[in-house]
């Protein structure tokens, strides 16, 4: 049986427990499940944030995440993975992104989730605009995130 890979780009919120259950329910071969959820923060440094708006490139977003999901499946012994990325307007405290990985081995589950998050940050075609104090500015990419993604590059 090939392991289930689920990728969804949606404006609706997601339910972490339901997504974990979807990967593990009725199975007794999975020993480790890691979930990462990214949440909209209410401030960035000293600046208050009223909301984020996430723009994405439909079609490419799914394709790009699928490429990295397939790479994760080939690099680690995974029994399933789920990636959900929201778009549209998102308020502080709301979910933005979810990655769930399931494996027999905890390190595979951890590493695959971290790998997928690092790539989502730097290569999935999404762009955040922050609303704060009446302004709306596009968030700038951070070198820090590029360095995190570069860790996974095979030399």
């Amino acid at each position: 049986m090939s392991a289930p890979v689920t990728i969804r780009i949606q404006d609706a919120d997601f339910d972490i427990a339901k997504e974990i259950a979807a990967l593990t329910m009725g199975r007794t071969d999975i020993g480790a499940v890691v979930s990462f959820s990214g949440i909209c923060r209410g401030s960035e440094g000293t600046e208050k944030i009223a909301a984020l708006t996430l723009e994405h490139y439909p079609g490419m977003a799914e394709a790009e995440i699928k490429r990295h999901a397939d790479e994760a499946m080939s690099r680690w012994p995974l029994d399933g993975l789920t990636v959900i990325h929201r778009f549209g307007r998102i308020q502080p405290g709301e979910n933005i992104v979810l990655v769930v990985t399931a494996s027999q081995h905890r390190q595979a589950a951890f590493h695959a989730a971290e790998f997928l998050m690092d790539y989502l940050k730097t290569s999935a075609p999404f762009w955040k605009r922050e609303e704060s104090a009446g302004r709306a500015d596009w968030v700038e990419a951070r070198e820090h995130d590029d360095a995190a993604a570069a860790r996974w590059t095979k030399s």
Binding site: H56, A63, H85, K121, S123, A124, P125, E140
Partner: protein
């Protein structure tokens, strides 16, 4: 071919997509940016710092020296900030 623009590239150009037929001497993604830049100030503003602009051909990230022949859809956008 169809062009698509996202985030502040889209805002500066003033549209989300358009269909264009560049002349044959426009061979690469970099050529295409230069050719658009020469068309009017909106493109010039969007592409004023070419090295920060990212491009994709048919949903795959490419570098500025990628050849555009055969592309159905080329997209230009700023560095991604999802996740």
């Amino acid at each position: 071919m169809k062009l698509k623009y996202f985030a502040w590239v889209r805002e500066r150009i003033g549209k989300a997509e358009e269909t264009i037929e560049p002349p044959p001497n426009v061979r690469t993604v970099a050529d295409l940016m230069a050719w658009l830049t020469a068309r009017d100030d909106a493109y010039a503003h969007a592409f004023e710092t070419p090295k920060v602009i990212r491009a994709a051909i048919d949903h795959t990230h490419v570098k500025a020296d990628a050849v555009i022949a055969g592309a159905r859809e080329i997209a230009f956008f700023p560095p991604m900030t999802g996740g």
